[in-house]
Symmetry: C2
Subunit: 221 residues, 2 copies
DNA sequence: GTATCGACTATACTATACGATTAGCCAAGG
DNA sequence: CCTTGGCTAATCGTATAGTATAGTCGATAC
């Protein structure tokens, strides 16, 4: 009778989301060690689902594990790492944007448009409000992920999402400087326009410019 | 108990290796469901480390999980997936080969040379012996991984290893057709030669030719 | 500095319990 | 007869608690 979508979600999955959220938002600082016993008491679940969640979180790069020594939140990024991450993004993201531009649908464009608008709204706040930063990276993430999904190649998407957590570390890194949210907004618009026009080459170029721009704004501080 | 061998390595890590090995070698067939209780009895460990190992194995793509329904070995690849995987590899691997060619060291070249020789030896067997197939994909894997590591960008390497398990599924797919091991051998040599010469452009091109070749040999069957 | 001690913690096993899935069976309806 | 639907029981994933073992790490003593 009641809809079947109300199937209970395993606690391990819930803990995955909770912890991911906390790492993404910076609620648990870089390098902080994660005591499973303490987490168990704090989140009021047993250790079993926590261990499972942490094991799955390892591949996001937001948490690191050392055998017999436990888990810890990934440390702050170095400048070299930021540059290496940019290189990796410069290889993947223009390609993803290019493919997405070739496979646009009305629904996709509508969704992307939504994330774009949300990004603009949050970008205006990210420079002033601390709470706005949360909304900012969330919509930034959604924008890039939506494009990656539309590229239609699950393997490329998989390779990109392997970087997803790292890109979030990149964003958190920028939190402690001045955010470039206001400058990123027009770049997102340019990407959207190129994709909406179905111009694959322009989409790739706009994405390249955006990734370079974001990195240089950060490193230039 | 009476077992005196002080295992320095956590059982969860050992199980990860054991299961990975079994998935890689095809010992557990595509689509086969993995009963944790049965695995526990079969491997003579409790369910705790098994759950942890399986959770970590999920990101390799060799095993899939459905909430409340358990784990299963990833199903056979479709032809479309093979092509999509090739696209992803064509984006990443030439770049990795290019970067590796720019950062060669004596030690790296010696290691790569070893994997190359081993590949040649095993390629000769892979067409005749079934046991040779195991050695074949193992040295193929090592060859590509060694190059990816030498590229010196941990994020690119991360993106590539996110595909690692999928590439293994690709190899297993080929097991049931004729293997192109003999044809792949000279391609590996060409890649090695270009890298050893420090010719980044040629290395990228050789890698591109190899990945295309391997895929087309498989799809052409 | 090195060695040892002890607290803390990761790891592992066992037993137990609950709930969801699934397969098999049976009955009603075509 | 075959299909459809629902009930039941077995199976299995998930979760908890308690306990045991062993490795890590800081502190203390030599």
């Amino acid at each position: 009778m009641s809809d079947r979508t109300t199937t209970k979600r395993p606690i391990a999955d819930q803990m995955y989301d909770v912890l991911l959220q906390q790492f993404m938002s910076g609620a648990r600082g870089p390098g902080q060690s994660l005591n499973i016993g303490a987490l168990s008491r704090e989140l009021d679940v047993s250790q079993t689902p926590l261990r499972e969640a942490l094991a799955r979180l390892e591949h996001t790069g937001l948490v690191e594990r050392e055998a017999l020594r436990g888990y810890r939140v990934a440390p702050m990024m170095t400048r070299v790492e930021v540059q290496q991450l940019m290189e990796a993004r410069l290889l993947l993201e223009p390609k993803l944007a290019e493919q997405a531009a070739l496979r646009t649908t009305d629904e996709f464009l509508a969704t992307l448009r939504e994330t774009l608008d949300e990004f603009h709204r949050s970008a205006a706040l990210a420079d002033v409000e601390t709470e706005g930063f949360d909304m900012y990276w969330r919509s930034d993430d959604r924008f890039h992920m939506t494009i990656a999904a539309q590229a239609g190649n699950p393997f490329l998407q998989m390779a990109y999402s392997a970087l997803g957590g790292q890109i979030q570390r990149f964003r958190l890194f920028s939190k402690f400087g001045r955010t470039g949210a206001r400058l990123a907004a027009p770049e997102h618009t340019a990407i959207y326009d190129a994709i909406a026009a179905g111009d694959a080459t322009a989409a790739a170029e706009a994405m390249r410019a955006h990734v370079s721009g974001a990195t240089e704004r950060l490193l230039g501080e």
